[in-house]
């Protein structure tokens, strides 16, 4: 992704941490019975959740922290998770 490649390592790290916190907050099912999850190597849960976010906001589904995705992540918003239980 050109935007991703354009980011400096520091910006990338900052975006990554920001996105991780965002996805933990709004794209993680909380409460109820917890279950372990076995995933294939390529099914990185971070990528899966980025895709989930991109689908929710009608963005191009890349699984990457591109500019449009980061723009959404940086917007002020409601604290209720988008993926809830």
């Amino acid at each position: 992704d050109p935007n991703l490649l354009a980011a400096t390592p520091r910006t990338f790290r900052s975006n990554y941490h920001l996105a991780q916190a965002y996805l933990d907050k709004y794209y993680t099912k909380k409460g109820g019975p917890q279950a372990g999850e076995m995933v294939a190597r390529e099914s990185n849960p971070m990528i899966r959740r980025i895709k989930e976010l991109q689908i929710f906001f009608g963005l191009k589904v890349t699984g990457k922290l591109d500019q449009n995705t980061m723009n959404v992540i940086k917007k002020p918003r409601c604290g209720v998770p988008d993926v809830a239980n």
Binding site: K25, F57, K75, P76, R77, C78, V80, D82
Partner: protein
């Protein structure tokens, strides 16, 4: 639109709310206004009514909180998360929290409280986040003008999927009309049940039962016909618990659960209010019957086996009440369903019997069949 998993919703259509903690960014009056307008945005679409209380536990508890405030969803300081609300349910259910670290405003210089509150109340009523960018329930903040706001279509569809549409009532009624198709009319002529409420209203006597009420001229037991409560008092819908009129002031009171409405004739005066305004203790959740006594200008409220006395002049509940109804009203027995004063007598409706109580003799002087009042 999206609903929460399990589709939680409120099982009642009158919900209480309370603002328990304010923000320093706005005056309390502005906060009250923004909250009221935000709730109103939803009640225009569905048959839900919101009643504000100032103490105790409301269905929707509203507060401005800072950082970790004990609900597992800590706020994060300025920007980021602005607010959150819990889906309908007991305890935390319906509660709505705003991040006190934000700059809240009624305009655009900061985060508009109406905009965020309207969104959060969508959650408090059972809506999750919508994927439609034009929806109020879209997760990210987008300013909405409080004075020109109309609930977007997606949100209307969502909330009506839970509660159904609000019935549109064209204009203010002045006279009740007889519906062309009679709804299921409770057969009082052949029933052991009594009326839910009885009151004078102007020159007429009104008898309420379930979704129906009957009007009759006091001294003219003919031409009595049933009508739906919604046709004349749409806000009351059905099952009125108690009613009374203070003829001198030209107003009447209708009670239903912990709320009451004031009317002038058939014209409703404002939104419902809480019965605790009268000074009832919190354990009283509804009133069985009410009767206004002209001479002492006092209203008696019957709750279970007891009654309270309210001084209409002092606007205050009298001391030394409640008292036991059967002990104080000799000859009156059973549960009091409704009561009304006519020509100096109090008529107590209890099941199939109506006791005519003489206030001077302090005794029951006759007993008639309750259904005879409507021509049976």
């Amino acid at each position: 639109y999206r609903l929460f998993p399990g589709e939680p919703k409120w099982k009642k259509n009158i919900l209480t709310y309370r603002i328990s903690k304010y923000t320093p960014s706005m005056s309390p009056t502005e906060v009250d206004k923004a909250i009221q307008m935000a709730l109103h945005a939803w009640s225009t679409a569905v048959p839900l009514n919101f009643v504000r209380i100032n103490s105790g536990e409301a269905d929707i508890m509203i507060s401005f909180e800072t950082g970790d405030h004990g609900d597992s969803y800590p706020f994060d300081g300025p920007r980021g998360t602005l607010a959150h609300a819990f889906a309908p349910g007991e305890g935390l259910g319906g509660d709505t929290h705003f991040d006190n670290a934000e700059k809240w405003t009624m305009g655009t210089n900061g985060f508009n409280l109406f905009t965020v509150a309207a969104h959060e109340f969508g959650h408090a009523l059972g809506l999750g986040h919508s994927t439609d960018p034009s929806a109020l329930m879209y997760p990210t903040y987008k300013y909405q003008n409080p004075y020109r706001f109309h609930l977007p279509k997606d949100d209307v569809k969502g909330i009506q999927a839970l509660y159904g549409p609000r019935k549109i009532f064209p204009g203010k009624p002045t006279m009740p009309h007889i519906p062309p198709h009679k709804p299921s009319i409770p057969d009082l002529c052949d029933s052991s049940s009594s009326f839910d409420a009885v009151t004078m209203l102007g020159k007429e006597l009104l008898f309420f039962k379930d979704r129906i009420f009957w009007r009759r001229q006091v001294h003219l037991p003919t031409g009595i016909r049933p009508s739906t409560i919604t046709s004349s008092f749409p806000q009351l819908m059905s099952n009125v618990d108690a009613a009374y009129e203070v003829a001198e002031r030209g107003i009447a009171f209708f009670f239903k659960g912990p709320h009451y409405w004031v009317t002038r004739g058939f014209h409703m005066q404002g939104p419902p209010r809480t019965i605790y305004d009268f000074g009832f203790p919190r354990h009283v959740q509804r009133i069985d019957a009410a009767v206004y006594l002209k001479e002492p200008q006092k209203t008696l409220f019957f709750v279970g086996e007891e009654y309270y006395s309210y001084d209409e002049r002092k606007k205050k509940m009298e001391k030394d009440y409640p008292k036991n109804t059967e002990e104080e009203f000799s000859g009156v027995s059973g549960h009091i369903d409704a009561a009304v004063e006519l020509n100096g007598y109090i008529y107590f409706f209890s099941g199939r019997k109506t006791f005519k109580y003489d206030t001077e003799k302090e005794d029951v002087v006759s007993v008639v069949k309750s259904s005879s009042w409507i021509g049976c």
